[in-house]
């Protein structure tokens, strides 16, 4: 944990390489945390992704003292890590189902109201990869909101914009993404 703190300080000081190292660290931390939380729990016990992310942040200690840049870097990394974790788990479950699941999930196969969280995660992930190439700004918002589960206010704090601005960007981004998911036939 202290590694992350050190890294954040380093990033704060402007050390280039430090930010690249942040993501894998955060990823490991989150995975470890998740495993801890989920171990020995019954099937009904679910854990929201955002809860995990926030807990990890809290464990960094001295939350109030952290500068907003640190928050910014951490949460961005955490959201990305969360994306990875969720996608991994979803793929794993899909492969466990065997047979039919080997086929790629497409939005038309899914009865949206009953759509599995895993299916959603995979669909969003795929479409997001495409969106990142065209519109990285929107993609960033999606990652923070959906995978990070952050509120508009938190996202505003992290990106350094107004809450209203986040709301608008999120509306556009998710609509764009949704449309992309549909085009993928």
């Amino acid at each position: 944990m202290s590694d992350i703190t050190i890294l954040l300080d380093a990033i704060g000081r402007g050390e280039e390489r430090a930010s690249a190292d942040l993501l894998p660290l955060v990823y490991d931390e989150l995975r470890r945390l998740a495993a801890n939380r989920m171990a020995g729990q019954s099937a009904g016990h679910t854990l929201q992704a955002t809860a995990l992310v926030h807990e990890a942040w809290l464990r960094l200690g001295k939350d109030e003292e952290k500068k907003w840049q640190d928050r910014s870097h951490f949460f961005r990394a955490a959201a990305q890590a969360m994306r990875q974790i969720l996608v991994d788990r979803a793929r794993q479950k899909l492969s466990l189902k065997g047979g039919a699941s080997a086929k790629r999930v497409s939005i038309d196969d899914i009865d949206l109201p009953h759509a599995d969280v895993d299916d959603r995660v995979l669909l969003v992930d795929e479409a997001l990869s495409r969106l990142e190439k065209e519109d990285p700004e929107s993609a960033r918002v999606v990652t923070l909101k959906f995978f990070g589960g952050l509120t508009n206010k938190e996202v505003a704090g992290i990106l350094g914009v107004t809450e209203r601005s986040v709301e608008r960007q999120w509306a556009y981004a998710r609509t764009c993404l949704f449309e992309m998911m549909h085009k993928e036939r």
Binding site: A34, A35, R37, M38, A39, G40, Q41, S42, A43, G44, H45, T46, L47, Q48, A49, T50, L52, M82, I85, L86, R89, Q92, K93, L96, K97, G98, G99, I107, D108, I110, D111, L112, P113, H114, A115, D116, V117, D118, R120, V121, V124, E134, D135, S138, K145, F146, F147, G149, R168, Q169, A171, Y172, R174, T175, C176, L177, F178, E179, H182
Partner: protein, 732 residues
């Protein structure tokens, strides 16, 4: 600016408009050259709320133990389901179990009601991210509109409230059943049974239309049939008025989203719904969709291929729906393969040739009329459609089809087959025992007589029905030709009859054929005995004035006495006023004026002290005049500032005023008013048409003219009218 930024900016701006019209105009302006961009933005706007909802479900993690388990496939498939949503939510006393669907501004869940009784219900909550006041108001409107409906074939609203977080919800009857089309196929229902279900469906939609609610997405999956008693045909129920909107409301999005599809199932969508301006929808759009469902019930498939439509681009889809004519059911079945046709026929308890024969003719006509591209040519109401289907079931002539003599004769025979059969049996017996049975001879005559009566009765009713239909079709001349042949009313007259006679009566009156009109209205009066509507008293006015116009004063006197007696307890000011007015075209004798006292009281009570309309003044001023209260009659009849001086009511008031003034000795003023009234009446008669409530119906003009005659005779003539009034004064 790259394309995404432009898009984003436009999207955000367009989103801000609540009003679809302004939004469209905005996009037209900003994307003037660029069709592709505009389509793109429109597309985004369409899917926006879908997207919001999709992303509102947050990703969660599940314990990995549950996944690996014993490593077998069975175990693995189970936990996948448990990862779907978080723990079941509670909303007041309802436990949410499963999400059923979405539409409009809400999501529908399967829920379990816990108290006071435990049962499953459907609960609709306003969607996440849609909490603006405007949306909440719309949701509430929808709930109220749905709560207004009370029909056995429409899913009922049971309860309403708000969640802890303040989101409004309402609870509906849960309908467990299967799609009507599937139901009919699975149970292999024959055509008649299917028609029975369909009629119920139409009447349910009619009920909604009468409450001002359009369904907008009628299709088989929204009409569920639940089997009640084993062995009996189930009851169809219409669900998912969730996307219905009160007719006065303003739909914000052009298309409807249901279960991941963005467009309301195209196969059942009316051409105008697919059109460029889908906001101009009315009840006939629902009728089209009913027609499409009907088509499928008969033939096993909807009029257009769902897949083909869904795969087409919006423009192409529009083109198909608006221009491409579907084959009538019998012709469609004629064109498919023999095997398929047999399969379809079997599921309708029929065989290919019988089925084709059944569909050919009336059923073809009814379906195609409901599916007309031009909505003016469709059935005007769901009940009209139901009525035609019922006529088919009763072997009566169907309105959708222009009747020929042979066609109608066929129907007549078919309907009275039972009677014809028994006649035939008796005839045979007669021939056999002719030499010995005088008794049978008389019986035969009796039977023949009864038969003739029955047929006459049937024909009379038919004529009336037909006349009603013709009148509605705007052919009053033909309708009149039929009604002329009727000299006495059938034993059991129908409401159809009232409207037919009234319509024809109006038409005759407009041609100033007073005698004939009177005869028709005599029947209207008789038929009105059956029913109490506000319009009845309007009929009284028409009849009364016709009697006076044709000089039938003895019938008029009788009519006045009867009406006054009948309505003596009337408390409704308007109705009392109309009757009162109708009875005062001539000075009333003592008996009549006694009868009129309570009506006069009711009319006076209803009369506002200031700012009243001319027509409201007439009964009061006329009554006061007839009673000899000349001054107060004049006061009331005096035209007020800013009132129209071309209406029949004004002319009437002028005539009354003239007479009152004359009695007060103000002869010149009286003359002036007579002249004024004359001018108005002349102009009115010159352009006589059916008229309306404000300028005056044709009978209002007759009324005015009649009083004007009286006034003119009084002022220019021998003043004999004055004597009658004096008589009345003595009595009072």
């Amino acid at each position: 600016m790259n394309s995404h930024e432009i898009e984003k900016a436009l999207f955000e701006a367009a989103r801000g408009f609540d009003d679809a019209e302004t939004q469209r105009a905005f996009l037209e302006q900003t994307c003037r050259e660029n069709d592709a961009l505009r389509t793109r933005i429109e597309r985004l706007l369409t899917v926006e709320s879908e997207a919001a909802d999709f992303f509102s479900v947050a990703p969660v993690l599940v314990p990995e133990e549950a996944e690996s388990g014993n490593g077998t496939q069975d175990n693995a498939s189970e936990p996948a389901r448990s990862s779907a949503e978080t723990a079941p939510a509670m909303v007041d006393r309802y436990r949410l179990l499963e999400r059923l669907g979405e539409g409009g501004c809400g999501v529908v869940y399967l829920a379990e009601q816990l108290t006071p009784v435990s049962r499953k219900v459907a609960l609709k909550v306003i969607r996440l991210g849609m909490d603006t006041e405007r949306v909440i108001a719309r949701f509430e409107l929808e709930r109220q509109a749905l709560a207004l409906m009370n029909h056995p074939n429409i899913a009922q609203v049971l309860d309403a409230g708000a969640t802890e977080s303040g989101r409004p919800y309402f609870v509906m009857e849960l309908v467990r059943g299967i799609k009507i089309t599937e139901y009919c196929e699975e149970r292999s229902l024959d055509i008649r049974s299917r028609l029975g279900l369909f009629v119920q469906l139409c009447l349910a939609i009619q009920h909604a239309h009468q409450k001002g609610i359009l369904h907008r997405d009628i299709k088989p999956s929204n009409v569920l049939v639940a089997e009640e008693e084993p062995g009996q045909i189930g009851i169809p129920k219409v669900i998912d008025f969730g996307i219905a909107k009160a007719i006065e409301g303003h739909p914000a999005t052009a298309t409807v989203s249901v279960r991941g599809q963005f467009i309301g199932t195209p196969a059942y969508m009316s051409p105008e719904q697919a059109g460029i301006n889908p906001h101009d929808i009315d009840t006939r759009s629902d009728i089209y969709s009913l027609g499409a469902v009907f088509y499928e019930l008969l033939t096993g498939r909807p009029p257009f291929d769902s897949e083909q439509l869904a795969n087409a681009a919006p423009d192409e889809m529009r083109r198909i729906l608006q221009n491409h004519e579907p084959l009538p059911p019998s012709r469609l079945l004629n064109s498919i393969g023999q095997n398929e046709l047999e399969a379809i026929a079997v599921r309708r308890q029929s065989d290919p040739s019988k089925l084709l024969a059944t569909l050919r003719g009336d059923l073809d006509w009814i379906v195609m009329k409901a599916l007309e591209k031009d909505r003016q040519r469709r059935y005007a109401s769901a009940s009209g459609l139901a009525a035609d289907v019922e006529r088919y079931l009763n072997n009566e002539p169907v309105s959708a089809r222009p009747p020929s003599r042979i066609y109608r004769l066929q129907k007549l025979v078919r309907r009275n087959r039972a009677t014809f059969a028994s006649i035939a049996a008796v005839s045979v017996a007669l021939i056999a025992g002719l030499s010995t049975s005088t008794w049978l001879f008389f019986k035969e005559r009796e039977v023949r007589r009864q038969q003739a009566l029955l047929l006459a009765e049937a024909e009379k009713n038919e004529k009336i029905t037909r006349a009603a239909f013709l009148a509605r079709e705007g052919k009053p001349g033909e309708a009149n030709a039929l009604l002329e042949q009727i000299y006495s009313l059938p034993q059991r007259p129908s409401l159809d009859g009232v409207s037919a006679f009234r319509a024809v009566g109006d038409w005759l009156a407009l041609q100033q054929k007073w005698q004939e009109a009177t005869r028709r209205f005599a029947f209207v009066m008789h038929l009105d005995e059956l029913d109490f509507w506000g319009s009845v008293t309007i009929d009284y006015q028409a009849y009364a004035v016709l009697l006076v116009e044709t000089g039938d004063l003895s019938t008029y006197a009788h009519f006045c006495r009867a009406s006054a007696a009948r309505y003596s307890k009337e408390t409704n000011g308007d109705a009392a006023s109309r009757i009162l007015k109708s009875c005062l075209l001539r000075p009333p004798d003592a008996a009549l004026s006694t009868l009129l006292q309570p009506l006069a009281k009711a009319a006076e009570n209803a009369f506002p002290k200031s700012g009243s309309k001319p027509w409201a003044a007439i009964p009061v001023s006329l009554w006061r005049y007839r009673c000899g209260d000349y001054r107060s009659a004049a006061e009331v009849a005096l035209p007020k500032e800013g009132q129209s001086d071309t209406s029949a009511a004004t002319a009437t008031n002028c005539a009354i005023l003239a007479m009152a003034l004359f009695h007060e000795g103000k002869v010149e003023e009286a003359r002036g008013n007579v002249a004024r009234a004359q001018k108005i009446v002349d102009a009115g008669f010159a352009r006589l048409n059916v008229g309306n409530g404000s300028q005056g119906y044709w009978f209002d003009w007759l009324f005015a003219r009649e009083l004007l005659r009286e006034a003119t005779a009084m002022i220019e003539g021998n003043g004999s009218q004055g004597k009658a009034t004096e008589e009345l004064q003595k009595v009072r």
